[in-house]
């Protein structure tokens, strides 16, 4: 068992190292200096209070989308629809943020709740279809992404209203912005969202590991036949899991709408927050702490990439290569595990020979 825990740490860590190595090789092939590249990448990630602030700011939505994917996964479901749920949550938060005039202690929570509720509703659809008609959730949740993208734009245009492709700013009473956090990080865009993300990670752990619902959800995820035999309602759990997953996703959208951007812009393409959530959940092994750390790493790499472009003149796209490589290495963790075992086996044999 100790060995298991050990491998669970070893594989992600090794994957990160190997991902960075791939990055270094690509830098060399491209004729760049990896030392210079990595030093500006890292200083862009965590080298200054500003860098740290920006990294944490970018991490908040990824934590939520990562938790959303991970939650569904822990209960045996693939929620590929997080991307769409993020958009729906974002637009709902912005709608409430603009159209209500309330004291902050009501307005902000209301906007967050709206995001959770709307996204949960959106996630309910694939959950319901799977439970009721056995339609595969991957197909439906992907399709719901497209519907979400166009629906969001339509709502922005006709319900909320846009000038120059952008909504007006949300009211201050619904904003997550924190002058204190900004000052602390020499005026990054860091906002209170990161604290809510910490809270969410705790709630995630709590639901799965401490509540009766969590016991049931995980049981169904592991073995739905035995769970059904034991009297659990598999269908109810599928729907519930999607709804809760959607709530996490909705909050990811709220981070963007109420924290970073203070509004929303018409968009022809996806935000990527939801899709990145899949990578985050994978690297984080679907645990609360893992997702939290993985989100910070990916966010940091994205933020650091910009600094790398400025400092070492290496295109920031290289960061995408590194992230993709890490994901591939983690996903093939099984193969990696085999290599590790092999190495260990050889070492043992060596000892035997003596």
């Amino acid at each position: 068992m100790n060995k298991l825990a050990y491998n669970r740490l070893l594989i992600p860590l090794l994957s990160i190292l190997m991902g960075l190595l791939v990055g270094a090789i690509v830098m060399l092939i491209g004729g760049y200096n990896p030392v210079q590249g990595f030093s500006s990448l890292f200083s862009g990630m965590v080298g200054s209070p500003y860098a740290i602030g920006e990294t944490l700011r970018a991490a908040a939505p990824l934590i939520f989308s990562g938790l959303a994917v991970a939650f569904a996964f822990r209960t045996g479901l693939f929620n590929i629809g997080v991307e769409g749920q993020v958009l729906i949550g974002w637009v709902a938060a912005v709608y409430v943020g603009i159209n209500f005039d309330l004291p902050m202690f009501i307005h902000l929570p209301l906007a967050l709740l709206a995001a959770m509720f709307a996204a949960a509703l959106w996630a309910f659809v694939p959950g319901f279809l799977k439970a009721k008609f056995h339609v595969h959730e991957v197909i439906t949740s992907i399709m719901m992404n497209y519907i979400a993208l166009y629906t969001t734009n339509a709502i922005l245009r006709s319900v909320i209203g846009v000038t120059n492709e952008r909504t007006e700013d949300i009211k201050d009473s619904a904003s997550l912005a924190s002058p204190m956090l900004q000052e602390l990080t020499t005026f990054s865009r860091l906002h209170w969202g990161i604290l809510i993300a910490v809270l969410a990670a705790i709630v995630y752990y709590y639901i799965l590991q401490r509540t009766t619902l969590g016991y049931e959800l995980r049981a169904v995820g592991f073995n739905k036949h035995a769970s059904q035999y034991a009297g659990m309602s598999v269908n109810r759990n599928i729907i519930l899991s999607f709804v809760i997953s959607g709530m996490f996703a909705g909050l990811a959208g709220a981070m963007e709408g109420l924290g970073t951007f203070n509004g929303m812009t018409l968009s022809a393409s996806f935000t990527g927050v939801g899709f990145d959530g899949i990578a985050v959940a994978l690297l984080g092994a679907n645990t609360a702490v893992g997702v939290f750390l993985a989100a910070i790493l990916f966010a940091g790499l994205n933020i650091g990439g910009l600094a790398m472009q400025l400092g070492a003149n290496i295109p920031s796209e290289l960061v995408k290569v590194i992230i993709a490589a890490i994901v591939i290495f983690v996903a093939s963790g099984y193969a990696l595990n085999y290599v590790i075992e092999k190495l260990k086996g050889n070492r043992k044999k060596g000892v035997e020979k003596k």
């Binding site: 009766t212 016991y215 049931e216 009297g231 309602s233 043992k348």
Partner: protein, 508 residues
């Protein structure tokens, strides 16, 4: 003497737990060598070491005299070692042929040559008398059939040394006799077999020699000849005398607990396999159902436990109509269920033993309060159950997957019997258990009966049915075709009824 396999002083540890402690097993060419030991003694572990699934911490393995390092099953295959696992390793969605050829597919160019594959599979199946439907999907075929697929898999790979890990635990008596014939044929062709079984009768019937282990330690190897018998083997295995024919108290049946009226249930293909079944069980009695696999047992259980809605008919529990209830409502109405397929239906293998012990009751106090789990209470329950039912496990925190097959079964029985339901449905409850454990489980069933519960026992083993039932109902083609008193019937009569024979024809 020529040995094909020698396992010398093998040691295997799981963390601090020693599953194999200095075990030696030597297999002669052309023999059937039985490996005997209690549940959790370390038999499967030892065989997994031989098959390259586990790496031993000590000792050495020789194949045909040569020291080898079996690092993975591929190497085992190359050495001519094949294994039929206690729990099958088949791909549910694949066909029989696909499963057999998986990993060593005949190719034509870049694609799998299906026609050749199918033909080769059919040839082998013919050669050894292992009837199968090569195009059926694994998920659609019976456990007995799945096992044939496992055996064919090893033969297809040209195994010379076959390891059978409790092959007969999942078979019906007829299938067991067929398997024994198959094993004998294999020996005639120069193959060598290691056979794990808890059924001493089978050892007496086919084995040439028998190696006994106890709690991970090597006890000894004996020639199976006139000098040994079932009692001496059992004693060697357990370390004390085992009482085979315990006498039980007389039943004292009271009011009707389960009343099934004109029940009709369809199977997954939509065929009516339970057709107008009537059945009554009273409190304080054990009713055994005898029948050949596939005569509606599975569907009857599914209907009784709420997993399947009957097409017609009624199920009354303590006079209350529970027809069409959900599994939860059925459970809450007082039904417990030891399922036939422990891995699929009995346990969440990735959950710890602790968590598995409250699979039906997790939402009730004291295990859960106001939506929160009380894992301390769960742990206490689990500890108590493990103690009481002698479930051998390193701790309650290991995943159920890590327990030996027999101990998994004991864990399920512990959970179900502990709730002391008004009606306990026990499907093959002692499958895979050692003789001591079987005796213990039978005692538990009797105790439930004495407490005034009703027990429905479904078993393919007539001996078991005859031994513990108070009444025996024979199931044939979805109907009860006769009720017998175990004291006044014989295996022959039951077998005759099970095959669809009618009263009066018996003398013909």
């Amino acid at each position: 003497m020529e040995y094909v396999i020698e396992m010398l002083n093998i040691r295997k540890e799981f963390g601090t737990f020693v599953a194999n402690d200095n075990i030696t097993l030597q297999l002669r060419k052309g023999e059937i060598h039985a490996l005997l030991g209690e549940n959790g003694a370390g038999k499967s572990t030892l065989m997994n070491v031989l098959f390259g699934l586990y790496q031993p911490e000590g000792g050495e393995i020789r194949v045909r005299g040569e020291k080898v390092n079996i690092e993975n099953p591929n190497i085992a295959n190359e050495l001519g070692i094949g294994m039929v696992h206690q729990h099958f390793m088949l791909v549910e969605k694949f066909t029989v042929t696909e499963n057999i050829i998986l990993g060593s597919e005949p190719r034509s160019g870049l694609t799998v040559d299906r026609a050749t594959a199918r033909k080769k599979v059919m040839d082998i199946s013919e050669q050894y008398g292992l009837r199968i439907d090569p195009d059926a999907k694994i998920e659609d075929i019976s456990v007995g059939m799945q096992q044939r697929v496992e055996i064919l898999k090893t033969l297809y790979r040209g195994a010379e040394i076959l390891i059978f890990d409790e092959p007969t635990a999942v078979l019906t008596p007829q299938e067991i006799q067929e398997l024994i014939q198959i094993m004998k044929r294999l020996i005639e062709e120069g193959k060598s077999i290691i056979l794990i079984t808890h059924k001493l009768k089978e050892i007496m019937q086919v084995a040439d020699r028998c190696t006994v282990i106890r709690r991970g330690r090597y006890i000894g190897t004996v020639e199976v000849d006139e000098t040994v018998n079932e009692d001496s083997l059992a004693e060697m295995m357990v370390g004390r005398e085992v009482n085979f024919d315990a006498e039980y108290s007389k039943a004292n049946p009271q009011q009707v607990v389960l009343d099934v009226q004109q029940l009709v249930v369809k199977d997954s293909r939509g065929l009516k396999v339970v057709e107008g079944l009537d059945l009554q069980i009273r409190s304080g009695e054990i009713l055994g159902i005898a029948g050949i696999d596939g005569n509606g047992q599975t569907e009857l259980i599914e209907a009784l436990s709420g997993l399947k809605k009957p097409e017609a008919g009624k199920i009354l529990l303590n006079g209350k109509d529970v027809t069409g209830f959900t599994p939860r409502k059925v459970t809450e109405s007082g039904v417990g269920h030891i399922p036939q397929d422990r891995h699929k239906h009995g346990l969440v293998l990735d959950y710890s033993i602790r968590d598995n012990m409250v699979l039906q009751t997790y939402y009730k106090e004291p295990f859960s309060k106001r939506g929160l789990m009380n894992y301390k209470a769960v742990a206490e329950k689990a500890k108590a159950l493990i103690e009481k039912f002698d479930v051998r496990t390193p701790s309650i925190d290991v995943p159920a997957r890590a327990l030996s097959g027999g101990n998994q079964q004991k864990a399920i029985i512990a959970r179900e019997v502990d709730r002391s339901p008004d009606l306990l449905i026990a499907a093959q409850p002692t499958r895979g258990l050692d003789v001591g454990a079987i005796e213990f489980i039978h005692e538990q069933l009797i105790k439930e009966r004495e407490k005034g519960r009703a027990v429905l026992l479904i078993s393919f083993e007539l001996e078991e049915i005859l031994h513990v039932s108070d009444r025996i109902a024979v199931l044939y083609e979805g109907k009860i075709v006769g009720i017998r008193d175990p004291k006044e019937t014989t295996e022959q009569e039951l077998g005759f009824l099970m095959a669809g024979g009618k009263r009066g024809e018996e003398t013909v």
